[in-house]
């Protein structure tokens, strides 16, 4: 692996679940890359496959097809033994700070666990390292011997973050890390993640449904719909010049404190179709305001236009700033 190579490379990644009544195509052909120190946001609504993708990346799930390369190594079907040396470099933070911590273990033990299972003995000892990690994420190291129930939701999420950082990962997958937290606590945790990313030079895949949170954390953003990426690009392109009608509708639907009332919003009709039987052609066409004949016949490829970094899977991509619908050009 040379300096310019991506840390994570995903090609044609698929995950199908066999259920009574057919095959759920939860993730259906994803291509993307994450460079060292880069933050990629995976956004989309429930059922779009973003959480499944996160679990595939850290290999909590076995991919049905495609390829995942991490640090130049093919880990698509790597077994426990082959994964072991990479586990410490690839960590995950879970959504629910209540369910993801063992209530019978002290937080010190919880944070030390990845060191233990990866056979890492830090210089100065495990205890000192755990205290250092607690300090790093804004927990009082004196609380080493306390149990999860003695902490608030925000503090528990900090424990989950410290645990993910313990083995010194290069890539962290964070699955909805702030969505279970109170508004004022969300901001604290988003700021913490930003600081850690900056200071430690970590690469992140942030999985979130909240587009405003993603905007505050990610340099690049991929928008998913029914198991596919419909648009991917640099943050400013996605938020200021979204080309896919789904990205535009998603951005327009975000409730915004700075706008009173609901005038001038574009609305998406209907619900997400079932991934058991996705629509032919473009999967978004059943809810798309611009759908035409071709959209039902041919699945659009994820294509770059005008030589930029932004790729869109749409036969009739939109242009122009979203600000027109929003009554002001986003700053």
């Amino acid at each position: 692996m040379t300096a310019g190579d991506p840390l994570l490379r995903v090609r044609g990644l698929t995950k199908h679940f066999r259920v009574r009544g057919g095959l759920v195509r939860a993730v259906d052909g994803l291509d993307f890359e994450v460079r060292a120190g880069e933050t990629l946001g995976l956004v989309g609504e429930s059922g779009c496959g973003k959480t499944t993708t996160g679990r595939l990346l850290v290999r909590l799930l076995e991919p049905t097809g495609g390829r995942i390369e991490f640090a130049g190594q093919d880990i698509t079907h790597a077994g426990r033994r082959a994964l072991r040396p990479l586990r410490s470099q690839l960590q995950i933070i879970f959504q629910d700070p209540y369910a993801s911590l063992n209530p019978r273990h002290t937080v010190g033990r919880i944070i030390a666990m990845p060191l233990q299972v990866n056979g890492i003995t830090p210089p100065g000892g495990t205890r000192a390292r755990v205290r250092e990690l607690m300090e790093l994420v804004g927990l009082n190291p004196e609380h080493y011997d306390r149990y999860p129930h003695e902490f608030s939701g925000g503090q528990r999420q900090r424990v989950g973050i410290a645990r993910a950082l313990a083995p010194g990962p290069r890539l962290v997958v964070a699955d909805e890390p702030v969505s279970a937290l109170d508004v004022s606590i969300q901001a604290q945790v988003v700021n913490l993640l930003r600081r850690l990313q900056r200071e430690l030079g970590l690469a992140f895949v942030l999985i979130a449904h909240d587009l405003a949170v993603v905007r505050h954390f990610c340099q690049r953003v991929a928008v998913m719909y029914l198991g596919r990426i419909v648009e991917i690009g640099d943050r400013d392109d996605i938020y200021r010049r979204p080309q896919h009608p789904y990205t535009r509708a998603l951005l327009a639907a975000v409730p915004d404190v700075t706008r009173l009332g609901s005038a001038g919003r574009i609305r998406l009709a209907g619900d997400l179709p079932t991934p058991l039987d996705p629509p032919s052609g473009c999967r978004f066409r059943t809810r798309c305001p611009n759908a035409r004949q071709r959209c039902a016949e041919q699945e659009p490829a994820l294509l770059r236009r005008d030589g930029g970094n932004q790729a869109t899977a749409c036969h009739f991509p939109q242009s122009g700033p979203l600000g027109v619908e929003r009554g002001g050009v986003p700053a």
Binding site: I185, L250, L260, D271, A331
Partner: protein, 344 residues
């Protein structure tokens, strides 16, 4: 005309092994028909306890409810359960966050909506009832309501279940709707549909709505008036325009500036409120917000000792509970709040 819902000095407390929890500690508001009050707060602020009290749903053996709740001229607090039950469902209804737990998994959706109707219309004929319910399902935007009537909750998507719950709440044409986080569990595009639907139905039925939400964006979109709660008390109250555009209380400032937005500078950190909401068993003395307030030192030490009462401030109708002197408040607002882009 009197507002349809009037709440005066509502207090709800629970006796626990660790002491008395004052979940709601003196809250007053009024909602006329056709208007929406948004109640904003974080966990433990007392917003959901308030909504249950409005419907008389607290168990009298566990909760002590005092104050006055007047719905359409009827005072509810202390009334016998049978009388409250008649008003509930008929005059007022509740929708809440999780439609799956509100619907019985073993019965078809249409039948469950029917049951809500029949309780208050025992003499209605079978065919006429079904017609009415199917019409209601259609009104809330459920496609093919005839067919959907006989389907089970698991055959409905999350958005459709929420619509079914709204149909159930509105089937008797209540004058007051309590919506406790009605769209929180839903995806943003569906959430937008549900909020639009509530607004349409409100225009049609002239409903008074109390919308409880932690999401300031949702409140900004639908509320006419806003009540901000913290540790069981109102800290700021006024029209949506007043509270969200010209907020006066440091907690509201903090809430507004800690929410990431689609505008603003993504490169700077969010202005987080330090600490976390207090435990209601051990509410800080004085102003409950003072341990997290940046300005607690600027009111001559009163924040620590004396509880601030709601007082008028800003423009008429706007009230807040804060010791910060007016001049200091105006200066801080201009320097710290407008600068981070809250007020636009």
């Amino acid at each position: 005309m009197d507002p349809y819902l009037r709440v005066d000095d509502l207090r709800v407390s629970f006796g626990t092994a660790d002491g008395t929890v004052r979940a709601v500690d003196g809250v007053s508001f009024a909602v006329p028909r056709g208007r929406t009050l948004g109640v904003v707060g974080e966990s433990g602020s007392g917003k959901s306890v308030t909504s249950l009290a409005l419907l008389g749903l607290h168990d009298p053996r566990r909760a002590t409810v005092t104050g006055q709740i007047t719905v359409g001229g009827h005072q509810l607090v202390g009334r016998p359960e049978t009388e409250v039950r008649r008003l509930r469902g008929q005059e007022m209804a509740l929708i809440f966050q999780d439609p799956l737990s509100a619907l019985h998994p073993y019965y078809p959706v249409g039948r469950q909506v029917t049951e809500a109707y029949r309780v208050h219309h025992p003499r209605a004929g079978r065919a006429q009832t079904r017609r009415h319910v199917v019409e209601m399902l259609g009104r809330v935007g459920i496609p093919q309501p005839q067919r959907r009537y006989d389907q089970y909750p698991h055959e409905f998507s999350g958005g459709m279940r929420q619509r079914a719950m709204i149909a159930m709440a509105l089937v008797n044409g209540p004058a007051l709707l309590i919506a406790d986080e009605p769209a929180t569990a839903l995806d943003v595009t569906v959430q937008a549909q549900i909020l639009d639907l509530l607004a349409d139905l409100q225009a049609e039925f002239d409903t008074a709505i109390v919308l409880i939400s932690h999401d300031l964006g949702v409140v900004a979109q639908v509320a006419d008036d806003v009540l901000v709660m913290y540790a069981g008390r109102a800290v700021e109250q006024g029209s949506a325009e007043q509270v969200l555009r010209r907020p006066q209380h440091p907690y509201t400032w903090g809430l507004l500036s800690s929410v990431p937005s689609l505008h603003g500078d993504a490169a700077v950190d969010l202005a987080a409120i330090p600490g976390h909401p207090p435990s209601l068993i051990d509410v800080p003395a004085g102003c409950a917000f003072h341990p997290r307030c940046r300005y607690a030192e600027h009111a001559g030490g009163r924040c620590r000792t004396q509880r601030p009462e709601l007082t008028p401030g800003g423009t008429p109708g706007h009230r807040m509970a804060c010791h910060l002197p007016a001049v200091e408040r105006a200066r801080r607002y201009a320097e710290d709040v407008v600068r981070v882009g809250v007020a636009r």
